[in-house]
Symmetry: C2
Subunit: 281 residues, 2 copies
């Protein structure tokens, strides 16, 4: 039995990619109907709908936008590519500000073709963050460096652990640069609890996201995240660790899974709420 | 042009899974013809051929067996499953001794079905190593804990970093328990150089394996390793780091890749030797 979704937990935020089958108006209406108070958004869908129009939609629906995904992709060596990436990130910061969210999630980018120097790529990420931080601060938006699972290190994100993300973030004021704690990416890391404590002590936890880890991983390993409770991640334990570090913000459910996208959105949302209660809250 | 394989580099060892299309006699003959002096073997193929017979084959061919893969799978909670795993590892140690190799590679095992406590699973690995270490020592074989890439943490190996492997290995004498340094598994880890130095200082590097990292990863992520030089791993840099830590042993090429297995074994071996010269030696 799926519980009545009329009493969604207060901290729950629904990342729109979890219910990708929904348009933005569907998402706003569905969350409102289920008493979900906040959502995480993605740039492409917001741009397609119109940034100001999306901002109005969620504002009028009384929904808080907890994060915007995503800026980043900072690792190009080519100066023109690099300049284009920085311009795109400034646009993302403008969009975040328009949506009223204080958090732009950064996926740092992988290694350029033929490049074998991951340490240098990580330094380029830090340099890009340095260029963007003042612009972000002017808009009241925090850059949130998200470490992605090491299986994405070559083609998506050279920042693979929370420790690496903090090593970059801590070069800047905490109100300008934070980190994302995502259970899917760091559940395996024995150092993660210490890094979460360090992030919390520094006021750096900008976003907390949850998804479960299930195998076998699909080809490309991008769309194989598990519904809450389906996998092996101690979701509640990591939520408690993050809370113990002083985090009081939203818990954003972000699951990329085509099997979930094939279902009725409302039914899926109800299931997510029920799973959240059972495995996270 | 592929170089004359008649002068294979002295430290090169060919793990048999790299040229899986070859039978054990093919492997012995092919390596001898190419002046390769050592091989890494896998238990299933050795058992099928006969342990004593395989030992004689490689001894008579003048080939050194640098490692036997694999023991491990220590994470069961069920007492009978656990006892069976320990028995199987004792058999593996006997086989390693018969083959004249001093190194049994351990893949620790994943999380049992429904288990979410990865820290406890890692403790069970340490407990199993404690039970096996004296038996290994009696046979002159060292247990070599191999950290596998974190993408295998749930279903194959809860030991994901060289730091974790050392945390276990260092509970035992260095001549009884070492670690495996495999470029495929740790290339992404910014802490790996420090861990390699720590492993070398403690005399713990039992085996050094090389493969390259290429994407997209295939479904199940097991058989997607890259030929040397095809991917983004700084193979030579990691080999130099390992040498600088005091390692003087074999460099074992271990690539799981069906595209390579579809080719002529002799041609593949010649290519591996040439790639080894270009990217590793």
């Amino acid at each position: 039995m799926i519980q009545n979704p009329g009493a969604a937990p207060a901290r729950l935020s629904i990342n729109q990619e979890t219910i990708r089958q929904w348009s933005l108006p569907d998402l706003a209406a569905g969350c409102t109907a289920a008493a979900v108070t906040s959502v995480g958004l993605w740039r492409a869908q917001v741009q397609e709908y119109g940034v100001q129009r999306a901002a109005r939609l969620f504002r009028d629906s009384g929904l808080t936008v907890t994060s915007l995904c995503r800026g980043g992709f900072f690792t190009a060596r080519d100066p023109r590519e690099r300049a284009a990436a920085l311009d795109d990130n400034r646009a993302a910061l403008d969009e975040a500000a328009a949506l009223g969210t204080g958090t732009l999630v950064l996926v740092s980018g992988g290694l350029p073709e033929g490049d074998r120097d991951i340490a240098a790529a990580r330094r380029r990420v830090a340099e890009a963050v340095a260029e963007l931080a003042p612009y972000a601060a002017e808009r009241g938006v925090r850059l949130a460096i998200e470490p992605l699972h090491p299986m994405y290190a070559s083609d998506r994100c050279v920042v693979s652990t929370l420790g690496q993300a903090l090593d970059i973030a801590e070069q800047f004021p905490a109100e300008q640069v934070g980190v994302v704690v995502d259970t899917y990416h760091l559940w395996w890391d024995d150092l993660a609890p210490a890094h979460i404590a360090r992030a919390g002590a520094g006021g750096r936890i900008a976003c907390f996201q949850v998804a479960d880890w299930v195998t076998p991983l699909p080809e490309g390993v991008l769309l194989g995240r598990g519904q809450l409770g389906e996998g092996c991640v101690d979701l509640r334990g990591l939520r408690e660790t993050t809370d113990a570090a002083g985090y009081r913000g939203a818990v954003e459910v972000e699951i990329f899974n085509p099997a979930l996208w094939a279902r009725d959105g409302g039914e899926l949302l109800a299931e997510v709420i029920e799973r959240y209660r059972t495995h996270v809250a």
